[in-house]
Amino acid sequence: MVFRNGQKVEIVRRSADESWEPYMDAFIGLHGIITDPDAAKNDPDALVEVSLDEKGTHRFPQDCLRVLP
C-alpha cells in the first residue's frame, strides 16, 4: 500500500517492527489521517506519520495501518 497525505487510516494491529512501542497498544482500533507519508521514495519500510483522532500525531510502521474507504 502506498500511503498518501490526507488518507483516512485505521491502526488495525500491533506491529512486530522494532519501532512499535508498548504505549502504542492503546492506539489499536483508532482512526486517523496520514499527515506525512514516506516523504521520499515510497519505501514500504518507512515509518508513516499519522494524526490519530483525539490521540495526537505519531509515526507508525506501515504494516499496522489499513486505509479506510
Binding site: M1, V2, R4, T57, R59
Partner: protein, 721 residues
Amino acid sequence: MANNGCPVHNTLSFLRDAIEGGAFKIPKTRRIALEVMELVEDLARGRGGPEHVPALESCVDELVANASDGEAGQAAQKVQISLLQFREVFESHAETHTCAGGDCVRLTPAPCQLACPAGIDIPSYLTLVGQGRYAEAVKVIREDNPFPWVCGLVCTHPCEFMCVRARMDSSVAIMDLKGVAAEKAMSARQYRNPEPAPDNGHKVCVIGAGPGGLTAAYYLALKGYRVTIIEALPVSGGMMMVGIPRYRLPREVIDREVSMIEALGVEFRYNTCLGKDITLEDLRGEGFEAYLLAIGAHGSYKLMIPGEEDYLQVFPAVDFLRRVSLGDHRPPGRRVAVIGGGNVAIDAARTCLRLGSEEVTILYRRTHDQMPAHHEEVVEAEEEGIHFSFLTIPKKIVGENGSVKAIVCVRAALSPPDEAGRQRPVPLEGSEYEMAVDTVIPAIGQEIDGRGLEGFQSMQWTRRNTIHVNTISMETDQEGVFAVGDAVTGPATVVEAIAGGKKAAIAIHRYFEKLPQPQFPPAPTRRRRMNFFQVPAGLKNDLKRVQMPFLNNDRRRITFQQVRLGLDDTQAANEARRCLRCDVCIRCGRCVEICRDKMGIGALELGYMNFDHPGLTDFKITAERCIACGACAANCPTGAMQMTDQEGFRVLSLCGTELNRLELEYCRTCGAVIGPARYHDYVTQRIREISPQLDDARMCLDCARKSTGRVQAEIEPPENI
C-alpha cells in the same frame, strides 16, 4: 471505580454515585465527602490551582478518619488510593488545566492541538490573531514551539488535516496565521523571550544546530541550564537553513528566531565537527554533563546506476541545496534532470530554475498522484515551468569528454496491487530512451551520517540506521545522552524535530533532577480558554479559506524572493473567525440529538461533528427552525452552546456563532419574560389539549395558571405530554 480513563473523572463519578447512593449516611462524613467532590470537580473543570491537590489530600485524610468502617469507609479508602496512585494526574489537571485522557470534557484539547507534534495551543492563538493581539499569540505559540515564524512558512501542518472545519468546507489556514502572528510581532518589536530561570550551573552540550537541537537549547536555557551548541556548518538552522530554499523560508526568518535563542545565553560554536574539530573527550573535559545529539540526516541515498560516480555534474540534491544556501549561486547546468518525487526533488528543481537552468525535468518512477511531495509544492513547481516525466526509471548516465551528455531511462507501468495493496513500477521492455541533459540531481532520500559519534559507545542504532531512543523521553541507550530530529526519526519534518527537542529538554531536566522519566508521550497542554468571537451564522458559514497571495510567476522563475507574500490584518482576522473552537465544543452531538429527538425540532444541522462520516453543516438553517427553547444549551457539557437574553432578544450561540436571535415577548399580565413568540407557540401547541383557554394569550406560566386553573381542575393531562 473504573480502572481505565482519567482518574480525576473516575474519582468524580465514583464520589457522585456514592454520595447520591447514600454511602455517606452520617452528616459529618457526607459534608466532608461533598467538600472532596467539590475539589475534584474544580480539577475536572479547569478551576484547580496549586493549592487544590494538597487541600484534597488533607480533606480525603479527614474523610478516611471519620468514615472508618462500612460502605462509607470503603468509598473513602478508594478515593484515597486513587489520589495516591494517580497524584501526578491530579496535579497535572491543576497545573495545566488539561485532561490527557479526554474524559474531563472541559479540559480536552482540540483535535488540531492534539495533531500538532509540538502540541501548540492552536485555538487560543487563532483567537488572539483574530483580535490583532499578535505578540500574545506568539507568546502562546512559543510555550510549545520556539519557531513560530519558521513553522508559519514551512510546517507540514498536520493540524490542518485534523481541522474540524475541513469536514464542513476547508480547513482553517492555521499555518499561515501562525506566520502572520510572528511576522507582525517581530515587525512591531514585540517578539520577546520569556524570563529564564536563574543559572543552575549544569552544562549541556547540543550537537547540531537544527530545529531539534535549537528547540532543546531554548527550553533548557529557560530552565537555567548552560547550553553550548556544536555545529559543523558555518550557520545555524540545520536543514531549515541548508535544506529548504530561501524562496520558501528566507534566511532572515531563521536568523531572527535563532538570535532569540542566542539572547538567552546559548553559546554557538560554528564550523566545529564532532570527531574532527573536537572530540567527546574534549567536551567531557569542559564539564558537560549531558549530551543531545541532533545531527540531522545530511547523507544521501545513491541511485546505484552506471555513470553516477563518473561525472562532476551528478550530485545529490541535499548537497546542491546546501551549496546554494551557503552562497554558491552558479547555475548547475542548462538542462537538468532531478530524480525523485519528494519535497527535496521539488526544492532542487525549483532552485535550478531560479539559478538560470533553461530546462528542468523531474523524473519520477511512479504516477503524479503517488508523489510523496506536498500537493501545493507540486502545483507551484508546475506553475513555474518545471517539467515532469512520470513512470520513468533512470537506467544509466552517459557522458562525453568527462561531462554528462544524457540520461538513459525506461518507461514503466504500475503493477497490479500485491497482497499489501502496493503497486510497483515495472519497466516496459523496449521502452528505453535517452534524454539529453547536462546535469543529474538525485533526490531519492536522505540518510544519517553517523561519523563522529563513535565515542558514544553504548548508544544503539536501529536497522533503519537511526539512533535508537525511547521516543517518550528521547533517551538513547547511553546514560546522559539524548537524541532528536532526523537522526532519530529518519528524514522527517521540522515540527517533529521541534517536538522531539521539547521532549528532550524535559527529559534532560528530569535526568538532572533525578526524577523518573514519563511512561507515556506528553499530552498537549491547554493554556487557557479564550473568550469567543461573536460571529453571525451566515458569516461563519460562508467565509471561505483565505487565498494566500503569491509572488508573480516571472519573479518566481528568476529570484529567490519569498513566494508566499503573507496575509494582511483583515484577511487574518477573517480567517481566524472560521475556527470552530473545538477546544470548547467537543462535538459530542448531544445538542443535535436533544433538538431532533427530544424536542422534535431538528434545528441543528451540524454534520461536521462526525469524524468518519461527516454530514451536512448549515449554521444558517437554525434561525429558520429553532424555537429558542434552550434544551441544547442546557445539555451542553462544556458551555459551547449558550442561550442568553440580550437587549430584548433571546440569542442562541455555538462557540460565539450566533445561530438564532428571536425577539422576546413579555407576559401581558405581569410583564415577566415569556420567551420568543416561536417558543411560546410551541408550548401552547403542546399544551393545547390541557389548556384550551390559553390559546394565543401571551402570559407567563404563573399568570396562565391563575387565569385557567379553576377551569382546568377537572381535566386529566394527556399521556403523551
